[in-house]
Amino acid sequence: MSIISPGFGGRRRSSQPDLPPGQYLTHDFPVLSAGPTPRIPLDRWQFTVTDETGAKHSWSWQEFQALPAEDVTVDIHCVTKWSKLGTTWRGVSIDTLFENIETTADYTMVHGYGGYTTNVPLEDLLDGKAWVAYQFDGEPLAPEHGGPARLVVPHLYFWKSAKWVNGIEMLQQDEPGFWEEAGYHMYGDPWREQRYQGD
């Protein structure tokens, strides 16, 4: 039994019926981090897809910027119970990055600068479901929100949208990433409220 504090918390968020179960609407953009914010000079930034044979496909920042970009407006849902509706991002679709990659692997590990990892099935990254985004709200993505670039997979809880993303590694079998090792759900569907292992 919790003690209810009348008047607490109403200023920043509200419940809305069309949110995933247990979520609350927020109007700001909370910053959650698991370590120091990496500062990555753009001339050293690199994004690498490693297939199951170990073959690497890499893009420099300049090459990445030359790829066709998309503007997307999506709702995002954080496992810490805030949701943010209608966020606007600009970035490169994962479909574009995989145009010339042949793979039979079904799973991926997404890597970020600073050592963060999170596992996402490949089919959840393809067919217009995920982007490597470098702009938020029309501005370059701030370091605390994952800049220069972060993964955006809006249909899964937002811990899957790895900040400071720098690569995707193809895996034949599903393996847990940073938070999945420590109790969070392997898949993380907000509409099925898959927050923790076994949910």
Partner: protein, 245 residues
């Protein structure tokens, strides 16, 4: 200290004091409180009518006396949903959930060595608990507090500190103003310096117990100065708090 599993307790706000325009001391009555050491903290949990809940950690400001209350001094943080509720909305007589006391490292246990306290902003709160605990037991250990604040208006416990400097033998307090100093203050406003700690702290030879509390950047700067002056890093205890509350 008991070794029972830690549980949430219902505390009631018995009284409140406005310390500065943005800081408020909550005087809480906590049933079956086991007592606490100065420097320990508590976790506070707030739950909204729609079930949303948030938890924060606060240092205890008061020294424990049997049958007494537990005081927390809360600094309102810009956009801080918990701190702003505690400073602006919580009314005397209302309950809140509290768990503690916790933390056995950043504590003062009435030991013989001289003590140097270095506070940045509301980092003074657990250090004030140490000063109060020493006062309660009429401790003779020399205590020095170096207290860095932005402006004179931001300083907590000003009157009580002045009274204790007068009445508690062997207690000294030195303020450092980083943005605006009072009229006639000898030093221009600025960050804590090697010279200040060297002048108003204890020489490393005295092997003081050092407690530093404040925002992360302040704690790291102060600890670096202390080590550079020759203090044993093992004697320097630090507690840092993040930017959100």
């Amino acid at each position: 200290m008991t070794n029972r599993r830690l549980t949430w307790r219902a505390a009631v706000l018995e009284a409140a004091r406005q310390e500065t325009p943005s800081a408020r001391t909550l005087v809480l009555r906590v049933p079956d409180w086991p007592g606490h050491l100065s420097g320990q903290h508590v976790d506070v949990r707030l739950t909204a009518p729609d079930g949303y809940s948030a938890q924060r950690s606060y240092s205890i400001a008061s020294a424990w006396q049997d049958g007494g209350t537990v005081e927390l001094t809360v600094q309102r943080v810009e956009d801080g949903e918990v701190s702003s509720y505690l400073t602006d909305d919580l009314q005397v007589g209302q309950p809140l959930e509290l768990r503690g006391p916790v933390g056995g490292w950043f504590v003062w246990r009435n030991a013989p060595p001289p003590v140097l306290l270095v506070a940045g902003g509301s980092g003074v709160v657990p250090l004030m608990a140490m000063i109060r605990a020493r006062g309660d037991v009429r401790g003779r250990q020399p205590f020095r507090l170096i207290y860095s604040v932005r402006t004179p208006q931001d300083a907590l416990y000003v009157n009580e500190l002045a009274r204790r400097v007068r009445d508690d033998p062997g207690l000294d307090v030195r303020f450092v103003y980083t943005r605006k100093a009072p009229d006639g203050w000898p030093d221009p406003p600025g960050r804590l310096t090697v010279a200040t700690i060297n002048t108003y702290g204890w020489p490393p030879d005295f092997a003081p117990d050092v407690f530093v509390c404040g925002p992360t950047s302040f704690v790291e700067a102060a600890a670096d100065i202390l080590v550079a002056l020759g203090h044993d890093p093992k004697k320097i205890r630090t507690e840092r708090f993040g930017g959100t509350s």
